[in-house]
């Protein structure tokens, strides 16, 4: 198993009456609540944490894209990735990912990832995401075009990275008469691609066909297990067994010296993440057309409920957060590995909600020093489900 340190860069300073007064940390939560001076310090702190993860021996350090939200302060993940290229030397720099469904000009993404690949000397992983529901409101992109825009932007970007000849592009969403990017990426054929899945069979097939890494989003283990099974099945239909590293499990992780201390400290972090950070209305989650009828039917029939209805204990029991002493965390991740039919990458969220810098650094140290060695060989003897 490979391990990465994923950051959302949250803005944890919500007003005390946030929960009564606001539907969400996103879209409609007024930015008068954002203090730029605190933002300056947060950015420095969060980049320090990612850089420390490189020193500690994490295989990857990961950033992502969110807009108009206290949930995550990275409208452009590529800017953060650029900052990391010059201050780290070893870890993969994982952009998980660019929200190409809502980009006006996806060629710009091809260019920026190519730049990052050069800056990092081939350490960039390129995730592509559609962008989440509220971002289709916030960036005024028609959600009924989401999948079409995503697919077309993906095809364009990959072709732009790999073509040695100038070409023209005429698609449903984008038209370019001259595609001819300078620079091109250094990794061949192009930086590895990661795609998050949340149950859509279209996405499983899309990833399996291209042998892309399929990564989970936060959901109960029984549901994530179904997604991973779906991806393995899609690969099986194509006649191959996916490399374990192509299956990436995402989960918030918090480690302290003892399990008791870990739970005391992690409870407000995990509750912030799931009960406040991700608070949003149903309308924001699924704007019209964002989901296909088949995917929506599947999700509704699965009986998933809102995070806010899940107390801390349930979130732990459902595998939506892993908390404890190093030994307890190693055991729990071993269990989840077995329940999920195996995964070759763990994308850990270590800086959770209102966690302090010291807590995050210590948790990452303990994880790198005591949990990673215990789990390195996990799955090497496990046969695919």
């Amino acid at each position: 198993v490979k391990f990465s340190f994923f950051h959302l860069m949250p803005y944890p300073y919500l007003p005390d009456d946030f929960d009564e007064k606001y539907d969400s940390t996103a879209l409609t939560f007024p930015n008068k609540h954002f203090d730029p001076d605190l933002g300056v310090r947060l950015y420095q702190r969060y980049l320090d944490e990612l850089e420390y993860a490189d020193v500690l021996g994490f295989d990857g350090i990961a950033v992502n894209e969110h807009h108009q939200s206290a949930y995550g302060l990275m409208p452009s993940p590529n800017i953060m990735a650029a900052a990391l290229t010059r201050r780290t030397s070893r870890a993969r720099i994982m952009v998980l990912g660019n929200a190409i469904g809502i980009r006006g000009n996806p060629l710009r993404v091809a260019e920026e990832i190519a730049m990052l690949d050069l800056l990092s000397d081939g350490r960039v992983d390129s995730g592509f995401v559609r962008g989440i529901g509220w971002e289709y409101f916030g960036h005024s992109i028609n959600p009924t075009k989401s999948r079409s825009r995503f697919n077309e932007a993906h095809d364009l970007i990959v072709k732009a990275w790999t073509s040695d000849e100038l070409f023209a592009w005429n698609g449903d969403n984008y038209e370019y008469r001259y595609v001819n990017i300078w620079p091109k990426p250094v990794q061949k054929p192009h930086p590895p691609i990661y795609i998050p899945g949340a149950g859509s069979t279209e996405t499983m097939k899309f990833c399996a066909e291209r042998k892309y890494a399929y990564m989970s989003v936060y959901a109960p283990t029984r549901i994530v297990g179904r997604w991973f099974d779906g991806y393995r099945k899609a690969a099986d239909d194509l006649g191959y067994v996916p490399d374990p590293e192509k299956i990436a499990f995402s989960v918030p992780v918090y480690v302290a010296e003892t399990s008791q201390q870990a739970h005391e400290e992690a409870r407000p972090m995990v509750e912030w993440l799931y009960h406040l950070g991700l608070k949003q209305t149903a309308e924001m989650v699924t704007p019209p057309g964002y989901m296909s009828p088949g995917s929506l039917r599947g999700v509704l029939a699965s009986g998933m409920h809102g995070f806010r209805e899940s107390p801390y204990e349930d979130l732990l029991a459902n595998g939506q957060a892993v908390v404890g002493s190093p030994a307890a965390v190693a055991d729990r991740l071993g269990e989840l590995h077995a329940e999920l039919g195996g995964f070759g990458q763990l994308i850990g969220l270590f800086s959770i909600g209102p966690a302090t810098h010291q807590q995050v650094m210590r948790s990452a140290e303990l994880f790198a020093g005591e949990v990673m060695p215990a789990l390195r060989s996990l799955g090497l003897s496990t046969s695919p489900a």
């Binding site: 989970s216 964002y290 409920h305």
Partner: protein, 299 residues
């Protein structure tokens, strides 16, 4: 009050798909273009019009029981779609009545093909972009709040509201699952089908009107092209589309008449079916060569 619907019918548009419609009554042909909600219904308003006219009420592409017509991506495509519908019905011309979203389509049709429209009646029509009078964001409105936006006096059971935009959009109140997942109870059977049907209609509405939101910025400067006698009807308490929109329509459409219905909200032909039907009937009759009656519309 919903009345017994007439037998339903389907219109085949040469390979492009099937249009579901209700049709009843006889006399001058009246094409009714429904609001974001209201597909596949035959409410009291329709029944009242059908006492005097041949009322044809199709479901828009992607609404009710009509097919998707996926190539229809914008309101310009809907104009061509309804020209095809008129052709398929064998109607060289018709009176056109449109409510809200359907009012927008009706106005665009009358701009693009004035010779096909005998008269035009707009009921709390969408379609104009008036930045000083913004339209409430239906897509961000929870279903439970729709009745108070759509009605002056929300009825306890909201007969029309149930069918208005976004009826029963999926999901419970709080928090997502993962990123981009839906919330709510495990769902099956008729509930699930109803949610999926509502999501399909909301998706169709978004296809035509997410951005620019429920409007065509070019429409206002084209309204002078309308030659049909036009009646613009507005409710006095429209909490979705400010009444300024109706007034602008009336100002820009040559010779248009304007009427306001009192104590009435946006879903006016559901909330005040008798008043709306009387105004509409009188106006259309006044512009029907075969059915001359003095129209009682006040300016």
């Amino acid at each position: 009050v919903t009345t017994d619907a007439p037998a339903e019918d389907y219109l085949d548009l040469s390979g492009a798909g099937r249009v579901h419609l209700f049709r009843d009554g006889s006399g001058e042909p009246v094409l009714f273009l429904h609001a974001a909600g209201g597909a596949g219904t035959w409410p009291e308003f329709h029944a009242r019009l059908a006492r005097r006219f041949d009322v044809i009420a199709p479901d828009h592409p992607g609404f009710g029981k009509s097919d998707e017509f996926p190539e229809a991506e914008g309101v310009d495509d809907l104009v061509y779609h309804y020209l095809d519908v008129l052709d398929a019905l064998g109607l060289e011309t018709a009176h056109v009545v449109g409510a809200s979203f359907g009012g927008w389509i009706a106005a665009e049709l009358a701009v693009a093909a004035p010779h096909r429209v005998r008269s035009l009646v707009l009921l709390s029509a969408a379609g104009l972009r008036l930045p000083d009078h913004p339209v409430t964001d239906l897509f961000l409105t929870p279903p439970g709040k729709l009745p108070e936006i759509l009605f002056h006096s929300p009825p306890p059971a909201s007969p029309g509201a149930g069918r208005e935009v976004g009826r029963g959009r999926p999901g419970g109140r709080s928090g997502p699952v993962g990123r981009g997942n839906e919330v709510g109870q495990a769902c099956s059977g008729p509930d699930l089908d109803a949610i999926l049907a509502a999501y399909r209609e909301a998706t169709s509405l978004a296809r035509f009107s997410w951005v620019p939101y429920l409007s065509n910025p070019k429409l206002e400067r084209r309204l002078h092209r309308i030659t049909a006698p036009t009646l613009v009807i507005a409710p006095d308490d429209d909490r979705l589309i400010p009444v300024a929109h109706a007034r602008r329509y009336a100002d820009r459409i040559p010779g248009a008449r304007y009427a306001e219905v009192r104590d009435c909200g946006h879903s006016m032909h559901f909330e005040k079916p008798a008043e709306c039907a009387d105004l509409t009937t009188a106006f259309i009759s006044g512009h029907s060569p075969s059915d001359q009656i003095t129209d009682g519309v006040s300016r």
